[in-house]
Every structure is written in structure tokens, then in C-alpha cells.
């Protein structure tokens, strides 16, 4: 397995109560796989994403990414890991408002040694014409596409998307998803999408269903649907 989570446990202390956000979560994802972590809010998806993305640490368990145990990383190594190995797509895009679309991508790509040409990525998300626009001049969908391009440009080992369509209407969401799917397949990217949207899971190679901080079920789609085929 390219990515392997082994009994990841994370507990939050809220006063006297201990809430298990993730309880012995284990699953694996192959290189180039398009995976979806599915579950209602409070299921522990975001916790897993944070830990997997090097933004948070776990209490116990092991995560192997491309043969390296990231749970052993210290703060600096985690930063380096985020910098070189992870691409993020946020629900609210999180573009730097003061940089143009192109610059937002360049900002990310200059971080790592081996990056994709910014203009090319922007072209592949279909925003070549909006290259010199500032985020506030773009629609939500466009902003999210820039964000996807920004994540892809780093040529990360793993692309993590946190509700990428959560802030978009269904039509736009569909379009964004399509772009995400197509480009990932084009670049052979390993992708994990976190969502509560069941429809999205239908296009995934692998679906990890979560509930109450634990993995409920891992479904492998033999034949994932095309994006146009799914219903929102």
C-alpha cells in the first residue's frame, strides 16, 4: 500500500470528558487511487485528514506514506512533509487574496523543488484566461479550481481535499469535481476527498465510511461512475 493508516487514535479532552475523535482507524490507499472518506459530521473525518496532512498529531497508531512513518515526525519534519508531499484543497479555497490566480499557484510551486509549471496547471483546470485575476474577481468555483491547481502544482504524493464542493452549488460543485478528477487522473495523483456527500463517493475507487470516529466499512468500487452520471 502507498498509504497505510494503522490503528490511529486521537482523543480530545473537554474538561472531564474524553471524546475519541478517532478510534483505531486503519485503512490503506494505493498509489494513484481516488479515495473518499465518507461520513456524517462528527464521524472523525477531519481528524483523520488533519493527522494525515501533518497538521495534527495522533495519540497512537502509525501512518506510513510512501514507506515513511509520519507519526514519528517532529514539527519541522511535519512542515517539510506538508511542504513537499501534501497538497491541500480547502472547503473555503483559502487563496491568498493579494496574489493573482497564477501567483497563488506559483506561491505553492516555488515551495518544492520539483513542481509543475504554474501556467500549465492553470490551463488544465481551465482557467488560463483568468490567470491575472485576483481571487475576489473570481467566482467560488473558479477560486476552488485555482486552489486545486495550487495543490497539484506541488506534485504532492497525496492530495487531500476537505469538502471541496461544500461551499459551492451543485452545478458548480460538479464541475469542480470533474476538474479535480480529470486532472488527478491526468497527473496520476493519489487523492483523498473528505465529504459527507454520498454522491461523491460513487466516483471513487475506494470509499472509507466512517462513523463515530471509527471505520465502518471500506468499499472498493469495481466500476466507479463518471461524474456526469452521478446525482446530487
Amino acid at each position: 500500500m502507498y498509504i497505510e493508516l494503522d490503528k490511529i487514535t486521537k482523543k480530545y479532552k473537554m474538561g472531564d470528558i474524553v471524546i475519541p475523535a478517532a478510534d483505531k482507524v486503519s485503512f490503506g490507499i494505493n498509489e494513484g487511487e481516488f479515495a473518499v472518506v465518507l461520513g456524517p459530521s462528527g464521524a472523525g473525518k477531519t481528524t483523520i485528514l488533519n493527522i494525515l496532512g501533518g497538521m495534527d498529531t495522533c495519540d497512537s497508531g502509525k501512518i506510513m506514506v510512501d514507506g515513511k512513518d509520519i507519526t514519528k515526525y517532529n514539527k519541522k519534519e511535519l512542515t517539510k512533509y506538508r511542504r513537499n508531499d501534501i497538497g491541500f484543497v480547502f472547503q473555503f479555497y483559502n487563496l491568498v487574496p493579494n496574489l493573482t490566480s497564477l501567483e497563488n499557484i506559483e506561491l505553492a510551486s516555488q515551495l518544492c523543488k520539483d513542481s509543475l509549471p504554474a501556467k500549465e496547471v492553470l490551463k488544465s483546470v481551465g482557467l488560463k484566461d483568468r490567470m491575472n485575476n485576483f481571487p475576489s474577481q473570481l467566482s467560488g468555483g473558479e477560486q476552488q479550481r485555482v486552489a486545486i491547481a495550487r495543490a497539484l502544482a506541488k506534485k504532492p504524493k497525496l492530495l487531500l481535499c476537505d469538502e471541496p464542493t461544500g461551499a459551492l452549488d451543485s452545478k458548480t460543485g460538479q464541475k469542480v469535481l470533474e476538474v479535480l478528477y480529470d486532472t488527478c487522473k491526468e497527473y496520476g495523483m493519489t487523492v483523498i476527498i473528505i465529504t459527507h456527500n454520498v454522491s461523491i463517493s460513487k466516483i471513487a475507487d475506494k470509499v472509507i465510511k466512517m462513523r463515530s470516529g471509527a471505520v465502518e466499512e471500506i468499499i472498493i468500487n469495481k466500476r466507479p461512475l463518471k461524474i456526469k452520471e452521478i446525482d446530487w
Binding site: R82, R83, N98, L99, L111
Partner: protein
């Protein structure tokens, strides 16, 4: 409502950094404003209170010829005079140092007894608290002491302070080395002077007016006018009095002299009469006795001649008479023998017998003759002897008489001479009478007291600073509060929306923010007032206490600034919070709940240079765009930092101006150690002074003539000193005349003047042009400017003898000597006709003493400005970070290292800080010039330059604050959670 109030406290807790920074900014602003304002106000009040309590005179009148009861009476009669108090003072030497002896007065210039008691006996006195101890015995020395005082020493029974002497420098004395060192007060009865030395006036118009303020000067003006009116009248009266007295004196002396001459003449004449009598007596006696002697002599001679004739008849004379007698006797014996041979009765016998008888008769006759002759001769001898004695006696008597006559004649000549001399003297006295100078009155008021005036001048220096500083602080306060509040409101617009949606009224919500601001404002206000009233004035007054003998500071609360500060703070707080809240609250709740779109990114000016633009990193691009995006913040930061830097620059600059001036002026330009001002002008250094100099190892002294003139510019009048050295070449060793144009040494030439730089600047004259100066009689002189020399303190014109004589059309004589070295303190300079010795080191010391004091004030300002700078930077950084939380979290997620993020966040502030510093340096320079302009007194022209080092220190200080703030912020930045980036936009 309670809920809202609770919410306010929660807000405070959550934004404690911001809250504190607002509070501190307000506290700082207020403490500086109040502190500086009330320091100067309090100091002036304290001094005024001291003067009023001790009845410091409003006017002191002195005269060159003393003052009389008539003067007092006429002064009492003029308007505005509450009391005219005649008094005495005299300068004496106490072990070589000049001190002033005053009479104790009950109604004016009261002394403050610090220790001991008031004198009861005549030989007891009160003395300067700072110079004497109880039981000290002070011995007065003054050649003229007896005409002033009935005592020549006194015992100190009380130590005092006097409002007349509030400063270490007490003024000029007419004896000793010219410097008044201390003072004592004795009972008034001790003074026996026939006239008053001074009259003190207390005005009833100035009673309730504060000294040092214009109201006092205004109230004093009518009295001054009256005094100026009465002055010439009283001067004339006094002149006539003196004249009359003097001429009476002359008449008296004349009469006395004449009387004496008359007496002498009478005595002389009496003695002459005696002499005449004696002469006559002697002459008579001589005549009588001469006749007697002569007639007797003639008789005797006749008798003798007759006898000699008789004798001759007998064949004898005086010589042979004894022979003839013996012969006759022999003949008789022979005849007798013959007779015996002859018969008796013979003819022959008879013949012989007859012969014998005849012979015997002859013998008898001869014997008788002989006896007679002897008798006559004896008588003659006695007579002749007596005659001789008599002649001698007469001769000596005549000699005496001649002597007497000679003496008489001498006496006459003497009297003549005495007469002439007396006449001459009287003429001289009469001539002198015409030469008696008209008495001159001096009308001195408080301003002529060096302590009184320099106290104010020093306060003005502080005041100048206090005028400017608060404006900045208030400006910064307004900016910071508004900025912070803006941010808070922006951050909490969702909360405002929720509250609005839940039915809270706009005013209730506004109340929340107003309350937030007011709480911080009021705490800041209180803190500021406490510090401003309790600490700052004391610190500043402490500086003054080391130089002035004034009582403890009375802290006053001036109603205007006090209420102004409170009102202003409240108004600013209210206006700022209401306007900021209203901007948001006028929106509908729904709009508030909606995400506020970020400000549109904009291309900036630099992007027009793609080559340059593409080279800089994205972080830099963001920074540059950010800087230009939030214009308000640029203004805020730049202004805030600029203000603080400007204050720092001004603070350091004041120090530079004053400190470097003394160094430049008294080390680089003026190279002489001492200047001796002579009582009278001379052509050459008097030999006794030369000896004095030699004894004190003062070599190469140089005579100069120094006169004060004035010049006018922009309706202002400044004093200027005209200096004429006797020897221009030697003068170059003492004053470094250096061209401002090329820094080269310049020499004084025959055809023009060298003037000091600031004079040239004020008058805007160039080399080759001319300047106009006026003397004390307002006569105008025009001098050609040959060159301009570097100079910092006072205005000077340097010319040589030839030019002087050409311009002023009079022979030059010199009134001062400059030299290197110092005369022994104990030497009484007035004996050498030296008015005063001015030592350069004393000037520098006084100068530096105050600079030292001023430094404390400057340090205070610098500390306050630094605090302000710090708080401003802190506040701005907090706001900057809170605005960027999301962006920063995103950067973190993207894998930026902490260091990169810190630099990114801080770079923006640093750039703005740098801009602020640049503006601050420029602004500070002008602020400094403004302060110096205000602080400048008539005699010192401050350097407007600030040392580069000071600029560097200011830059570094601001950067250091910036760095400290950064360090604090780094922690905050580290704490920003990456998870925040995932959250929805608030």
C-alpha cells in the same frame, strides 16, 4: 443589559492585549500632556506663591547718589504704590568673597527662616542657608564700611532663604571679584548711612496677578510709567540737594580759610610792631652810648695830648718819661753831691741849690705827669673796651631785629601763598561742583533679578517641549483607538449581526462597544492623570531644584487642561466608537451575517516594471500589495511610528543642540579662559594688572574693547557685541575666527567687519553687504560685512581699531582683557579696577549643569515616546496578525516554515516602520527646530543641527522596539492553529 455588560467583559478578556494597548496609549498621552503642562504651570505657581507669601518687591529703586526721605514720600504718593519701603544694602567682603548685607524688612522681601532665630542684637544676623552655618562669625571688609554700617562683623543666629536669591548665581557685586557669592540680613538700625541705598515698591495692582504671566506685566505697566515720569523729577531734586549741600560746604570752607589768614596776619603785624620798637630802642641806645663814648674818648685824648705837650715841654714823652725821671733824679743826686762840695751859700751853691730846687720841681711835675698819663691811658683803655663790648651787643641786637624782619617778610609771603592756595582750592571745589554728575535712578523690577528671570527662561525650555508633545500623543491616541476599534468591530460583525437578528437594538449593541472603549479609556485616563499629576512634575521639578532655591513643588490642577483632557478623552472615545460601530450597524442583520468580501487585490505601481516585479518572491509581492491595499493602516503605522521617532529625534536633538553648542562655542571658538572687565577704559594694560597677571601666570593678555549694540530683524531686537581687539594677530589665538564658506581662518581687516553666522542668517546678509546696528542711545551705525564666522552663542561683530575709528569717529580705548589662566580667588579684583572676571569654565559649567538637568527631562520624554512607539507597534502588529489569521494558517498548511511566516508577517510592519522612521526623522528635524525656536532665549542661538549619531540612535531605538514587538508576536504566530484554515469564514 446585564448580558451585554457581561459580554463586554468577556470581550475585554479575549482581547486583553488590544485592550491594554488602548489603555496604555491613552494613559501615556494623558500623562505626558498633563505632566508637562502641569509641571510648568506648577513650577510657575510655586514660585509665584513663594514671591507673594514673602512680599517680593515689584520695583526696586536705586540711585547713583543714594535716596532720601523725600524720595520715599513722593513715591508713596503715586498711583498703584501700596507701599514704598526705604532700605539699605551694602556689598562687603567676607574672606575675600563678595556678599551683600541687607536690612531686615518686615513688609517686603521677607526672609524664610529655616533654622535658628531672628536677630535681637545689633551684632547678630541672618545668613544664606546654603552658604553659612549657625554661629558662624562673618567679618565684613569694605573700605567705606563705616559710612554704611555700625558693625564690622556679625554672628549668624538664623539661616534663611530669600525670594531675592533663588539661584546659585546671585548677580554682580561692585567689589571683590565682581561676583556676588552670598548674602546676610542684619537689623535695620545697624545701617548708619545718611541716605537710603534703595527703595522697594509693592504695587497693589499686581497683588493677585501671577508673576511670570503677561497679566503681571500688564498690571505693572502703569506703575512703571508713573515711575518713569517721577524719575527725572526726583533725580533733579536730588541733584539740587547735593549741589546746594556741596556749595554750602565750599562757602564754609572759604570763610574758614579767610578767617585763618586774617588771624595769621594780625599776629604777624603785632610781632612787627614789637620789632620796630626794639629797633628804635637799640638805635637810640646806640646813638646815646656812641656819643658818650666818643666825647669821653675825646676828653681823654685831649687830656693826654695836653699832658703829652706838658711833658714835651719838660723834654719828656710817653716813651722816655721814666728815663727823664731817672735822668732828672740822677741830675739831682749829682747836683746834691756837687753841692756838698760847694760851700753853702755860694753863688754857685746857691745856683746849684736853685737848680736843685728847680730840678726837684721838675721831678715832681714829671712824676705827677707820669701818674696822670698812666691814669689817662687806663681810663682810655677801659673806655675803649666798653665801647667794643657795647658795639658787639648792638650788633647782635640788630641781627635779631633783622631776623625778626626776615621772618615777618617770610610770614607775609607764606600768607600770600596760603591765600593763593586756598583760592585755588575753592575754585577747584567750585569747578567740581559743576562736575557733580546728576544722580541717576535705576528702576529695577523682578525681571532684573537674575534668578527670577532665568527660572522662567528655563521653564520656557520645558514649556516648548510640552507644547508640542501632547498634540502628537493625542493624534496617535485617536488613530490607534479608531484603528483598534475598527478591527474589533470588523471581527465581530457576525456577532453584531446575531445580536441584531435577535432583537437587540442598534444603540444597545453600540453601547457594548462604547462601554468597551470607555472602560479602557477611563482606566487609561485615571492612570494617565495619576502619573501626570503625581510623578512627571516631580521629576521635572527635581531638575530645577538642583539649580534653584525654591520651595517644594505645589502641584496644581489647572481647571482648563484638566477638564479638557477628560472631555477630549471622552469625546474621542465616543466619537470613534460610535462612528466605527455605526458604519457596520447601519447594515441589515443579514448583511452582517454574510461574509464580508475581502478587499480587492490590486496591482501596484511596481508591477509596471515586470522585470523587477517578476524577480521578487510571492511573499514580497503579497507584502507589497498588502501595504498598498490597506491605506488606512499605512497611514496609521507610518504616522504612529513617525510621531514616536520624531519625538525621539526631537528629544535627542534638544540635547545635541544645547550640549554641542557649549562644546563648539567654548572649546572650538572661544579659546580664552578668562575675561576681565575693567572699570575704566584704558589704552594699555595698567602695570599693576600686568604684575597681577604675571603673578598668576596669565600670559599673553590681550586688550579688547567690547560694546553692546542691538540689531533688528523681523520686528525683533537682538543684542550684539562689538569686539575690537588691540592686536588682531594675537586675537586669533583667543577667538577662532573661521569662515563659514571655506572653513579657513579669517583675519579682521581695515575696511570691514566679521560677523557671526547666526547674525548673518537672521539678517540675511551676505559677504560684501552691510549691517545696521544701534547703540544704547539708538544711534545708527552701518558696517560693511567682510566675512562671516562660525559662532553659536550670542551675536558678535569683530572689527579692528582702524575700522572702529572710521565708523565711530572716536579714538578707541579698551575695556576688557582676555587671557589664559585664572586669578587667585582671594585677590580683590576691585583694587585693580577690574569690575568682574568672567571665566569660560564657569560659563560652560552653568551651561552643562542645565543641560544635565534638561537631559533628565529629555530622558523622560524619550522613555515616554519609546513606550508610545512600542505600544503603537504592538497594537498594529496585533491587528495585522488578527486580520491575517486565516492567511497565516493557510501558509502553515502549505508548508511554510515558522521563520518564513514570521518574516512574512513582520516584513510588512517593518517596511511601514521604516517609512515611519524616515518620515519621523524628517518630521523630528522640524519638530526639533520648532522646539528650539520656542526655547531660544535672547542670548543663545541654538544650533539647529542634530548629530548623525542621534539619528542613528533614534533609528536603532525604533527598530529595537520593533524587534521586541516581533519577538512577542512570534509566540502569538506560533500559536495560530492550522485548523483555523479549515474553518468557514466568519
Amino acid at each position: 443589559m446585564i448580558l451585554l455588560i457581561k459580554n463586554v467583559f468577556l470581550k475585554i478578556k479575549n482581547s486583553i492585549g488590544r485592550f491594554t494597548s488602548i489603555m496604555l496609549i491613552i494613559a501615556l498621552g494623558i500623562s505626558v500632556f498633563i505632566g508637562l503642562y502641569e509641571s510648568t504651570a506648577g513650577m510657575l505657581f510655586t514660585a509665584d506663591n513663594y514671591y507673594d507669601k514673602n512680599n517680593l518687591m515689584d520695583f526696586k529703586i536705586t540711585s547713583t547718589h543714594g535716596l532720601t526721605k523725600g524720595d520715599v514720600k513722593s513715591l508713596e504718593g503715586i498711583n498703584n504704590v501700596e507701599k514704598a519701603i526705604p532700605s539699605y544694602s551694602v556689598d562687603v567682603l567676607d574672606s575675600g568673597k563678595s556678599i551683600r548685607v541687607h536690612a531686615i524688612e518686615k513688609e517686603v522681601n521677607n526672609v524664610v527662616l529655616m533654622q535658628g532665630k531672628m536677630p535681637k542684637k545689633n551684632n547678630e544676623c541672618l545668613a544664606d542657608y546654603y552658604k553659612y552655618k549657625l554661629k558662624d562669625e562673618i567679618i565684613f571688609k569694605n573700605d567705606d564700611l563705616k559710612s554704611f554700617l555700625s558693625i564690622n562683623k556679625c554672628k549668624v543666629v538664623g539661616l534663611i532663604k530669600s525670594p531675592l536669591y533663588i539661584r546659585e548665581e546671585k548677580g554682580i557685586s561692585n567689589i571683590g571679584n565682581g561676583k556676588l557669592i552670598s548674602y546676610v540680613f542684619v537689623k535695620k538700625d545697624v545701617f548708619i548711612s545718611e541716605f537710603y541705598t534703595e527703595i522697594y515698591l509693592l504695587s497693589d495692582a499686581t497683588k493677585k496677578k501671577s508673576s511670570y504671566y503677561e497679566e503681571y506685566n500688564k498690571a505693572l505697566k502703569p506703575l512703571k510709567k508713573e515711575l518713569e515720569k517721577i524719575k527725572p523729577i526726583r533725580e533733579t531734586i536730588r541733584y539740587e540737594e547735593i549741589l546746594e549741600k556741596a556749595s554750602n560746604e565750599i562757602i564754609k570752607i572759604e570763610n574758614e580759610l579767610n578767617e585763618k589768614i586774617k588771624d595769621n596776619l594780625v599776629t604777624l603785624k603785632k610781632s612787627k610792631k614789637q620789632l620796630d620798637n626794639e629797633k628804635k630802642k637799640t638805635d637810640d641806645l646806640t646813638a646815646e652810648k656812641t656819643t658818650f663814648f666818643d666825647s669821653n674818648l675825646i676828653t681823654l685824648n685831649d687830656q693826654r695830648n695836653n699832658l703829652l705837650i706838658e711833658m714835651n715841654k719838660l723834654g719828656a714823652n710817653e716813651n722816655n718819661i721814666d728815663e727823664v725821671i731817672i735822668n732828672t733824679k740822677t741830675e739831682i743826686t749829682n747836683l746834691n753831691n756837687l753841692l756838698l762840695t760847694l760851700p753853702e751859700g755860694s753863688d754857685e751853691y746857691n745856683n746849684i741849690k736853685t737848680n736843685i730846687t728847680l730840678l726837684e720841681q721838675k721831678l715832681n711835675a714829671l712824676n705827677t705827669m707820669k701818674d696822670n698819663l698812666i691814669k689817662i691811658n687806663n681810663n682810655k683803655n677801659v673806655l675803649e673796651q666798653n665801647y667794643l663790648t657795647f658795639k658787639k651787643e648792638i650788633a647782635s641786637a640788630n641781627e635779631k631785629i633783622t631776623d625778626g624782619y626776615n621772618k615777618y617778610n617770610d610770614g607775609l609771603i607764606e600768607i600770600d601763598k596760603a591765600k593763593n592756595e586756598a583760592n585755588e582750592k575753592i575754585l577747584e571745589a567750585k569747578a567740581e561742583l559743576n562736575n557733580i554728575e546728576k544722580p541717576k535712578w535705576y528702576l529695577l523690577n523682578r525681571k532684573d533679578n537674575s534668578g527670577y528671570i532665568s527660572y522662567k527662561e528655563d521653564i520656557i525650555k520645558v514649556e516648548a517641549i510640552s507644547k508640542v508633545l501632547p498634540i502628537f500623543f493625542i493624534l496617535v491616541v485617536i488613530l490607534m483607538v479608531s484603528n483598534t476599534l475598527n478591527r474589533i468591530v470588523e471581527e465581530e460583525r457576525t456577532e453584531m449581526g446575531i445580536l441584531l437578528a435577535n432583537g437587540f437594538s442598534t444603540s444597545a449593541i453600540m453601547f457594548e462597544y462604547i462601554l468597551y472603549v470607555l472602560i479602557s479609556g477611563l482606566i487609561g485616563l485615571t492612570l494617565g492623570l495619576v502619573v501626570g499629576y503625581a510623578f512627571i512634575p516631580k521629576i521635572i521639578y527635581g531638575v530645577f531644584l538642583s539649580r534653584y532655591y525654591v520651595p517644594k513643588l505645589i502641584t496644581i490642577v489647572s481647571p482648563l487642561p484638566f477638564s479638557m483632557v477628560i472631555l477630549l478623552t471622552l469625546i474621542i472615545m465616543l466619537v470613534v466608537s460610535i462612528t466605527t460601530c455605526y458604519k457596520e450597524l447601519k447594515n441589515m442583520p443579514a448583511a452582517l451575517l454574510r461574509y464580508k468580501p475581502p478587499k480587492v487585490g490590486k496591482k501596484v505601481f511596481f508591477e509596471r516594471f515586470p522585470k523587477l516585479w517578476s524577480r521578487i518572491s510571492f511573499m514580497w509581492k503579497t507584502t507589497v500589495r498588502n501595504i498598498f491595499r490597506y491605506k488606512k493602516r499605512i497611514i496609521m503605522t507610518v504616522l504612529g511610528v513617525a510621531g514616536c521617532t520624531a519625538l525621539l529625534v526631537a528629544g535627542m536633538g534638544i540635547n545635541d543642540s544645547i550640549y554641542t553648542i557649549s562644546k563648539l562655542q567654548y572649546e572650538d571658538i572661544i579659546k580664552y579662559d578668562s575675561m576681565y572687565i575693567l572699570k575704566n577704559s584704558v589704552e594699555e594694560i595698567p602695570s599693576n594688572i600686568l604684575t597681577l597677571f604675571r603673578e598668576n601666570e596669565i600670559v599673553n593678555p590681550l586688550l579688547i574693547n567690547q560694546e553692546a549694540f542691538t540689531f533688528t530683524f523681523d520686528n525683533k531686537t537682538e543684542d550684539i557685541f562689538l569686539i575690537v581687539p588691540k592686536d588682531s594677530v594675537n586675537f586669533n589665538n583667543y577667538v577662532n575666527l573661521k569662515s563659514v564658506v571655506n572653513d579657513k581662518k579669517i583675519t579682521i581687516k581695515d575696511d570691514g567687519a566679521i560677523i557671526s553666522k547666526q547674525t548673518a542668517d537672521l539678517l540675511k546678509v551676505k559677504i560684501g553687504e552691510s549691517i545696521k546696528i544701534r547703540n544704547s542711545d539708538n544711534e545708527l551705525f552701518i558696517l560693511k560685512v567682510n566675512d562671516i564666522t562660525e559662532n553659536y552663542v550670542s551675536h558678535y561683530i569683530y572689527i579692528n581699531k582702524n575700522y572702529y575709528e572710521k565708523i565711530f569717529e572716536e579714538e578707541i580705548s579698551y575695556n576688557s582683557i582676555i587671557g589664559n589662566g585664572k586669578i587667585d580667588d582671594k585677590i580683590e579684583l576691585s583694587k585693580y579696577n577690574i569690575l568682574i572676571a568672567n571665566y569660560t569654565e564657569d560659563i560652560v559649567r552653568t551651561f552643562n549643569e542645565f543641560v544635565h538637568g534638561l537631559n533628565k527631562i529629555i530622558i523622560l520624554i524619550v522613555v515616554l515616546a519609546s513606550l508610545l512607539a512600542f505600544v503603537v507597534l504592538y497594537n498594529l502588529t496585533i491587528i495585522n496578525v488578527s486580520e491575517r489569521k486565516r492567511e497565516i494558517a493557510t501558509f502553515k498548511v502549505l508548508g511554510f516554515y515558522d521563520k518564513e511566516i514570521n518574516i512574512f508577517v513582520y516584513r510588512e510592519i517593518l517596511i511601514l516602520t521604516l517609512f515611519g522612521i524616515i518620515y519621523g526623522l524628517i518630521f523630528g528635524k522640524y519638530l526639533h527646530i520648532f522646539i528650539m525656536n520656542t526655547a531660544e532665549t535672547d542670548n543663545i542661538v541654538f544650533l539647529r543641527e542634530i548629530r548623525p549619531l542621534s539619528y542613528i540612535i533614534c533609528i536603532l531605538l525604533t527598530l529595537i522596539f520593533s524587534l521586541i514587538v516581533q519577538t512577542i508576536m512570534n509566540k502569538t504566530l506560533k500559536k495560530i492553529d492550522m485548523i483555523d484554515s479549515l474553518k468557514s469564514v466568519e
